[in-house]
């Protein structure tokens, strides 16, 4: 049960058109995206549970902790061990006492007790990198080509339709890494977690493409990893745009065919 897809019998039904009676095309096999809980532990103590597609779980744990501001470089992590197929235990280099402090801080801020605008600040992880200083430029033609390149590289998506994808590209449009998951935030965590462990943060000059919409959370994850350009096939939320603008990140949405909407950081587009 640790595969990314599961085969399942499904009944394909065709509704009648007008006077026609409904038809059953009969049972057939269908591929489903696997969803299972992953528990992430910090030095042995449970931190959180995320619903994810199995695979790259160690990267997911590392990326999740990076997005939460708990780790920032390979040296912060002493080791990550799968102690069960659905449990990743991260041992921090700082020792058990430091880990317990970070864990308590995480549990407190994820149910933070501040109102209104302050609440936004409380969930906004302090970014270590200044993406506004990133001088990379990307051509609209390269951006327009990315969704097609991502889809080509997605082995699983075509067969299940149930997986979100995140792709990391160079400014010239070369795909560096691709991750898929039932949760779009998990796909991004897996990508960034791998880069963190390889010592590649900040991801200066890179473009992150996500297959769905851009939420505040996704923009924040890109920002924490030092990615200057975030592009998406669908719409961003208001708060994703606010965060991108404040951070000096380029945010592109509705990347379809040859057109796109540039919400922030248009100076990086070599138009």
């Amino acid at each position: 049960m640790t595969g990314r897809t599961a085969r399942r019998r499904v009944l394909r039904v065709q509704a009648g058109n007008g006077a026609g009676a409904p038809r059953e095309a009969g049972p057939r096999a269908d591929l489903l995206a696997v969803e299972e809980p992953l528990e992430i532990r910090l030095n042995g103590a449970a931190l959180t549970v995320t619903m994810r597609t199995p695979g790259d779980d160690i990267d997911l744990a590392a990326g999740f902790l990076a997005a939460e501001g708990v780790v920032a470089s390979p040296g912060d992590i002493a080791g990550i061990r799968m102690c069960d197929e659905n449990v990743a235990d991260v041992t921090l280099a700082g020792g058990a006492a430091a880990a317990e402090g970070l864990r308590r801080n995480f549990l407190t801020t994820s149910a933070c007790g501040v109102c209104g605008k302050d609440s936004i600040d409380a969930i906004r992880v302090r970014a270590r990198y200044d993406v506004s200083a990133d001088l990379v430029r990307v051509s609209p033609a390269v951006l327009a080509s990315l969704p097609g390149r991502l889809r080509e590289a997605q082995r699983v998506f075509a067969s299940t339709g149930g997986l979100h994808a995140a792709g990391l590209f160079t400014a010239e449009g070369t795909l560096l890494a691709l991750r898929e998951d039932v949760g779009r935030h998990n796909a991004v965590d897996k990508l960034i977690g791998r880069a963190l462990q390889d010592g590649h943060l900040p991801l200066a000059g890179r473009v992150l493409l996500v297959s769905g919409r851009t939420s505040f959370e996704l923009a924040q994850k890109a920002l924490v990893a030092g990615i200057p350009v975030l592009a998406a096939v669908s719409a961003p939320s208001s708060l994703a745009v606010e965060l991108a603008e404040e951070a000096g990140m380029t945010l592109v949405g509705f990347l379809r065919g040859t057109t796109m909407n540039v919400y922030t950081g248009a100076h990086r587009l070599s138009v």
Copy 2:
């Protein structure tokens, strides 16, 4: 800032086709789906923060607590008060001590310390209603008509492309309620939270349609509300199908045009 959409200047860019130079269509106004944090409190103490589209926040708080198994009937809630535009405080009928017990239990299980298969059980909220006993039948023609009816009723979706929708229907296809949100789980929580406060749980004989994919979490929310038929425009995950099968719920996916995939509970389709 409590509207569901926000107006924003956006640069529309057209990449060059082949030899053609890229063109800027220039700045124009675009509507974004608003995303802001909502803090949910239990008798004054912070429980969780969810990123949501403002609107129906009291319903969202009630529905969230119903899905978590904290409340099950209008009598369980003494009152829900917005103490800030982004903070909903739920006072439970059971009193402060009971609320604190439920709060501690929630915070513990959301970072639960159990492995593998047990972890699934830990996040599986005990359902109070037996949907397997629900004798409702739905015709494929009615099911096929639901996505169109939902889209017609969505005022916001057409203009932003950034909102998920959830619709509650009768078995004859009449739309009873519609909610939209940047988070699909929030749209379902808002729908169920309203029904709970109106004393309409269990939602026996009803059909819930979601605009995206069906995750374990969405199937669980439908199950807790006693909804026997869950339909989606896109794919379900493996764990959503497992839960629906175990509970005796009808799960339909890829509801597009006149065709659909029936994953579980096909006996309710009057083919």
